[in-house]
Amino acid sequence: MSILTYREALGRAMSEEMTRDPKVFLMGEEVAQYNGAYKVSKGMLDKFGPSRVIDSPISEGGFAGLGVGAAMAGLRPIIEMMTWNFGIQAFDQIINHAAKMLYMSAGQFPIPMVFRGPNGAAHMLSAQHSQTVEGMLTQVPGLKVVTSANPSDGYGLLKTSIRDNNPVIFLESEMMYAMKGEVDDAEFLIPLGQGRLMREGQHVTLIAWAKMVQRAMDVAAVFAEQGIECEVIDPRSLRPLDEEMIFNSIRKTHRCVIIEEAYQAASVGSWIVELVQRVCFDELDAPVMRVSNEFVPMPYAENLEHRVLPEVERIIPVVKQVLYMD
């Protein structure tokens, strides 16, 4: 067991997979000589050389498409988006090409590749650098969408994503790259579609992923002081989604709050609400509630940014509401 930062865990996952399979390569802006904009690929150029760790031009659509073409010809690309805000430039390639290729070719051209990079707000990066994309991309059949909330999950899930024969959207966070955590020294994989029970409880289920997992844990700690036990679930991969874990938890707690860094409409959270009300209707003792970003572009000022994101003080009253504590 070693203590790794989240970025080190991701770097270790990529390096191991590139060692294991020569068809895996990494391409993106600043991934090689600069060692990665966020140093996730630190040392990889030296280890694998410029034919496998490739600095791209600033052409997200172009090099995303290049990855898709390379995958059609049998390679297994990892395409790094410096941030998913830039990745939006590549949505045509991701949505129209990567996601659809297998289906429209009736199984002839699988696209085994990973698009990865930081997602959502960091800190005071304002409107154009704070978008989350999981809601948009979970909408697309053919894509898998994976998040992680700690170094160990990041490592195990990225390795699985690289070995997956489908295009996988792997969402990271600038705010988590320096996060430290234990990662087993022995190699391991975490299957996609398997959530993680972060904290057991019987009074209310909190569902959160990525950065919001920590928020949920903080909220659970607050309620624990009052004798209320929140069950915190991190689904980790959003497509496929560990629906059973969610349903089973709600069958136990009968109450659910979803915390997501996204806007309310047509989000992953809204999809989970739909699933829950359909499958667990008779189990619910309160409406499923969500705490989301306020529906405004991300402001720059620190206090305003804090106001927009789902922070603990905005989550607590909502949890109280489903507990009928008011």
Binding site: F25, S51, S56, P57, S59, G61, G62, F63, A64, G65, L66, G67, V68, G69, A70, A71, M72, A73, G74, L75, P77, D92, Q93, N96, H97, M101, L102, Y103, M104, S105, A106, G107, Q108, F109, P110, P112, P141, G142, K144, N165, N166
Partner: protein, 325 residues
């Protein structure tokens, strides 16, 4: 006839002539089937542009890759997908080359290395760069031909892909099927350069222009280009001048073009040109050429009749191929 002084034997020319006629008759049957409502959706045909497809194919090996846009029925056939499977795909049948999942715009064959017709203008160009990247990565001797329409050269992804292909020396042959109209818009009205090959100048990319209406010229030119790509590993940008007789798609009446313009291009018809050449070489007469055309018509009819008999996909096929195992 602008073909070089090189001579071809009767069998070879007859084959070329047959292919030109076959693709013409195939697309004519496709149009008829469409208007008879035997299938629906978008339908873009190649009538008038057959020479390019036939000429390019003659320059390639089976191991070379090809990728194209949404006007690609005959390119798919040229690359080796049987015409009846293309027809069955148009009819949405389970024995079509994409099992009814693709349709007119999305013909695919992994075996034949035909990487699809694609429906987003310019979207296939970065894909071609990726295939070129993979060829280099695996240190192979193959190339990829990437067809695109003239209007695709105004897409951002086109420029991004050309830049990467040139920067990294990817073995790509980018061919613009320059029929001068992006749907109904004359390319002159939307494009800053008078010749599309000038697009390559920005990337220091080897480039040229070819008379895409003449199959022999095309074949000879492209053969030289392909040899050069294999040798230098550098990409090439080819502006292939051609003309589509029909509208952009079935629903397009083509009102933006004059009768005079059409008459001029009909005079350069690829089938007409090759027929004249063969007759001039005294290898075949009108009756013999007509017999080849009759044979081509019969093949196209057989393709459609076969497709008519094919099964539609089973309902549970809707769930297949969303995700790979």
């Amino acid at each position: 006839m602008a073909a070089k002084a090189k001579t071809y034997d009767l069998e070879f020319l007859k084959k070329l002539y047959f292919e030109l006629c076959y693709y013409r008759r195939f697309e004519e049957r496709v149009l008829q089937a469409y208007t008879a409502q035997k299938f629906a959706g978008f339908c873009h045909v190649h009538i008038g542009q057959e020479a390019l497809c036939v000429g390019v194919q003659r320059a390639l090996k089976d191991t070379d890759y090809m990728i194209s846009a949404y006007r690609s029925h005959t390119q798919a056939i040229a690359k080796g997908i049987p015409g009846n499977e293309v027809f069955a795909e148009l009819f949405g049948r389970y024995t079509g080359c994409a099992k009814g999942n693709g349709g007119s715009m999305h013909m695919f064959s992994k075996d034949r290395r035909f990487l699809g017709g694609h429906g987003i203008v310019g979207g296939q160009v970065p894909l071609a760069a990726g295939v070129g990247f993979a060829i280099n990565y695996e240190k192979k001797d193959e190339i990829i031909v990437c067809y695109m329409g003239d209007a695709a050269t105004n897409q951002g992804q086109f420029h991004e892909a050309l830049n990467m292909a040139a920067t990294w020396s990817l073995p790509c042959l980018f061919i613009v099927e320059n029929n001068r109209y992006g749907m109904g818009t004359d390319i002159k009205r939307t494009t800053s350069v008078d010749h599309l090959w000038k697009r390559a100048l920005a990337y220091d990319m080897d480039h040229g222009e070819v008379d895409g209406m003449n199959v022999l010229t095309t074949m000879e030119t492209v053969t030289e280009i392909v040899a050069k790509i294999r040798k230098t590993k550098r990409p090439y940008f080819l502006d292939a001048i051609c003309y589509r007789y029909k509208g952009h798609s079935v629903s397009d009446p083509g009102l933006y073009r004059t009768k005079e313009e059409m008459a001029e291009w009909l005079g350069r018809d690829p089938i007409l040109q090759l027929g004249e050449y063969i007759k001039k070489q005294k290898l075949m007469n009108d009756a013999e050429l007509k017999a080849v055309d009759t044979e081509a018509k019969a093949k196209a009819r057989a393709d459609e009749e076969w497709a008519d008999e094919q099964p539609i996909p089973p309902e549970d096929a809707v769930w297949r191929y969303v995700y790979a195992d």
